[in-house]
Amino acid sequence: MLLGTNLLMAQTAAAGAAQEEAPKVDWTGVAYYVAIFFLICLGIAIVGKILKIYDLTLKMQGKKGIKWNNIMAVICIIFLLAGLYGSYWSFTEQGSMTLPEAASAHGVKIDEMFTVTTVLTMIVFFVTQILLFTFLFRYRHSDKRRAHFLPHNNTIEKVWTIAPAIVLTILVVFGFFTWQKIMNSENLKDDINIDVTGHQFAWELRYPGKDGVLGPKDFRLVTGANNLGVNFKKKSSFDDLKVDTMYLPVNKSIRLNILAQDVIHSVYMPYFRVQLNAVPGLPTFFKFTPTITTAQMRTKLDDPKFEYTLYCNKICGGSHYNMQKVVRVVTEAEYQSWLSRQKPYLNDALRKELHFATANSEQSGASTNRIALNN
């Protein structure tokens, strides 16, 4: 296998690829690591032999040999203690590196449910793991003892079927209603509509103009200057704005209208507990209300450079790992002043192109919907 790839590499290299500074392999370094590995293997082999000899001498003295059952039982207990400490450490150390409180209204509900679920499951986690490993230690093999013959016990089995069923029912009921509430929120009149379109490998943002309505899109209308395929036959398209950073006024209901052009992407804004896939051919939307401004979050996190981000969370190709937009939550006043500085989607290049399109379409007799602008 390696030979084959080498051959192919040689071909591409010969074809003039970036061969100039082919980095050199540090073979002594490689040999060093390989030597360490073999030394460890040797060490293990020696320890194994010593154990074997020890075991044999014990047996020759008429003893029972190494009591592996006891050793394993003790390791189980050590593992349990180390594991308990390790998970405690992990919870405190890495747990503190996780997302801060939700910066959106519905996110608070999600966080509450997360806390309840965590508490319940962690109780089960610790109790079952502790039982598992203490049983192993407590009931390790002994020749003097026999196991307790206990094929079943209907009462206790019923208990531990019904108990998880009840707990899960509670979680489901809360989860179900929260979920319905988040996803089925009604459309309000003063929702701020924002158009988010994903393509390899960037997000395009479009805000409605003064009319508050986003003009419709059609993938057949996509051109170099009109890369979203906005339909300019419709009036609502004319005042749409093309923006680079997603500004959101705090405490206002936002409606993200989500679509992808090429492959599936996913709009992911974890600080707001927002995620929805961007699917070609299937427009979707997600509604939420940001509650903490970027400035507030900066003081909270004590990080003057903090920015909210929107990034792609569905594998979409080579640069999937770098497909982001900055999101800024600001006060209403800041939002309005920012908004007034944004450029219309219908820029000069596009105007020109639509003119050309008109002329062309008259010649070819096609694409009547591009005449819109001239009317």
């Binding site: 591409t12 293990i44 997302l99 049983f135 492959v263 896939n277 969370n313």
Partner: protein, 629 residues
């Protein structure tokens, strides 16, 4: 009619037997195109192990990238050529590594390697049959699997590299060859390989089901089958019902790719160019994929559950607690696993109400899983536990299943999944509950039935070392990933260098990579133990673990047809361990109740009034004798 066939089959074999000892099988028909289920099991096992090692090496490669995103390793260029120019794995090849790692592990190792090995080995031996219902189809099943493996690996040699859209190969990414290099020939090979794989899996599955249903020995009614058989049987049913749906999905994808249909494609502009697709739905593929995909994860775990149940009962010297509950929960999981697939699609834009329904079904499936866990704990309680390496791995399986299963409760809650979907939290969840748990079940099975397969024992001490290092490292690798997920770190990212918020995880990533490297190196200890023991291990006795099940009544030297004489008759369930009043702490299934009067209890004769009368007579004479004394 089926019973007739069974008798016929067994009869002919029996007659032939005398001759068979003498005439030598050719090398080809004994080791290569073998129709003996035991040899086919070994073929599946060794191919599975080979694939596992390859997939493991792939994972180390991408872990290196995650730990050292800015370092160059010229050695990588030497090894991988154009896939790692200038000493760094390229982003596209990174995705290919992730994709092929996942595909091989889920399908080739944990489905074919696990079910293929243990269903083939154990079903005939534990139900008392001379071979599978159709040995020829069984052979074909292996060779289709082998071919599928070769084709999957061959995709590393095509110009643009292997498939790289993730193991779930969602279109349009996988459908548009121009969307990424891996969606070219690499994806074509992936699809061909999977079709062959499913064919293999179906031929195997049909064989397993018909063997269990039709070829059980006398006395082996369904409720006397070991849990391994129950698990493998239900797994096979799941596979037969679910895999064809994957083929349907894959075939439509092949059409979209090569014939120009639009099943999954609509409204697409790729690199500024409109594509001529209209009316399809990318979500349709996800429905088809997960209709298989979710049952698939249980196809992976159920054999591991069966194996662990059996091994834990043998080595605790105790009956499995709640045998009936164990079977019913397996049946429950089998049925429910068909109606939960939508939990992988909560945030696809699917109708939210549908998401709500899938959340309900998903959390219901956690109940049988919980019951199984509690029953395992109760099996250990007041046992007399022997720590064989197999036992340790079975215990590790339980520990992982608990840790990973609990996070399923977060993910199954659609509202919580909004923020967790496709993050490292999901990676942690399924690597513990499926990856680690199932691999540990498989390793437990290998250690336990190695004497049955090769007539020799593996080295216990190396087994201990293998267990503890792997167990600890697996936790070190996957536990911290939960927190990365809770910080919103997405999976399938080539590097976390581009986001200020993710850079703080670099130290954890380096730590995880080193834990993974140690775990991987440990596996070479296992490989050494495995292959050396095949030739040099201590000779096994007939029943080394003092186990009750039928496979240990066959001679150590393998024969075609398994038992030299008649197939033994079964009289009791497989879990009479440490029964009070019995001489030994185990009573094999082949021992009739008439020979164990002192240990019989009324419960043994629930549907056998004559036997109960016998028992009553016996106890009353016993009492009378005592009074006389």
């Amino acid at each position: 009619m089926s019973t007739l066939a069974v008798h016929d089959h067994a009869g002919t074999h029996h007659d032939e037997h005398g001759h068979e000892h003498h005439h030598d099988q050719s090398f080809l028909s004994k080791y290569v195109f073998s129709m003996d289920h035991k040899m086919i099991a070994k073929q599946f096992l060794i191919t599975g192990i080979t694939m596992a090692v390859i997939a493991m090496i792939l994972s180390i490669l991408f872990r290196i990238q995650l730990a050292y995103p800015d370092k160059t390793f010229p050695l990588l260029t030497t090894l991988l050529g154009r896939f790692a120019p200038n000493g760094r794995i390229s982003p596209d090849f990174y995705l290919a590594l992730v994709t092929i790692h996942g595909t091989i592990m889920v399908f080739f190792v944990l489905t074919a390697g696990l079910s293929g090995t243990f269903a083939n080995l154990l079903i005939p031996l534990q139900v008392g049959a001379r071979d599978m219902a159709s040995p020829f189809m069984n052979m074909l099943s292996y060779w289709f699997f082998f071919l599928a493996s070769v084709i999957m690996l061959s995709s590393f040699f095509v110009q643009k590299g292997p498939a790289s859209g993730g193991w779930t190969i969602y279109p349009p990414l996988s459908a548009l060859p121009k969307a990424m290099p891996g969606s070219g020939e690499g994806m074509t090979l992936w699809l061909i390989s999977m079709v062959l794989f499913v064919a293999s899996s179906l031929m195997g599955g049909i064989n397993y089901v018909s063997t269990v249903l039709n070829m059980r020995t006398k006395g082996m009614d369904l409720w006397k089958m070991p849990l391994t058989i129950w698990a493998l049987f239900l797994t096979a049913i799941l596979g037969i019902l679910a895999f064809p749906v994957l083929v349907a999905g894959v075939v439509l994808l092949i059409f979209d790719r090569s014939v120009g249909t639009s099943f999954y494609l609509s409204d697409i502009v790729l690199n500024g160019v409109q594509q001529p697709f209209e009316g399809g739905s990318p979500i349709l593929f996800q429905h088809l994929f997960w209709f298989l995909g979710h049952p698939e994860v249980y196809i992976v775990i159920m054999p591991a559950m069966g194996i662990s149940s059996e091994i834990m009962s043998v080595n605790s010297r105790k009956p499995i607690f709640g045998y009936h509950a164990m079977v019913y929960s397996l049946i429950g999981i089998t049925v429910l696993s068909f109606i939960v697939w939508g939990h992988h699609m909560f945030v696809t834009g699917m109708n939210p109400f549908l998401g709500g329904v899938f959340m309900i079904t998903t959390l219901i499936i956690a109940v049988p899983s919980a019951v199984k866990t509690f029953n395992w704990l109760a099996t250990l309680w007041r046992g007399n536990i022997r720590f064989t390496p197999a036992m340790l791995f079975a215990i590790g399986m339980v520990s992982f299943f608990i840790s990973g299963g609990l996070t399923g409760i977060f993910l199954g809650n659609a509202a919580l999944d909004i923020n967790l979907h496709d993050t490292y939290f999901v990676v942690a969840h399924f690597h513990l509950v499926m990856g680690s748990a199932a691999i540990f079940g498989m390793l437990a099975g290998v250690y336990h039935w190695f004497p049955k397969m090769f007539g020799r024992m593996m080295d216990e001490k190396l087994g201990y070392l293998h267990f503890w290092l792997t167990f600890i490292c697996a936790y070190l690798v996957f536990f911290p990933m939960h927190f990365m997920g809770l910080d919103g770190v997405p999976r399938r990212y080539y590097a976390f260098t581009e986001f200020a918020s993710m850079q703080k995880w670099l130290t954890i990533n380096t730590f995880v990579t080193w834990a993974a490297i140690i775990a991987a190196l440990t596996q070479f200890g296992f490989l050494y133990n495995f292959f050396v023991s095949i030739f040099k291990g201590r000779k096994a006795t007939q029943n080394p673990w003092e186990s009750n099940t039928l496979e240990w009544t066959t001679p150590v030297e393998h024969l075609h047809g398994n038992w030299p004489g008649e197939i033994p008759t079964v009289y009791r369930w497989p879990y009479d361990y440490s029964k009070p009043g019995a001489e030994e702490d185990y009573i094999p299934q082949t021992v009739p109740y008439s020979q164990t009067m002192s240990s019989n209890v009324p419960h043994d004769f629930e549907d056998n009034p004559a036997g109960l009368e016998e028992l009553n007579k016996f106890t009353s004479t016993l009492k009378a004798n005592e009074q006389v004394k």
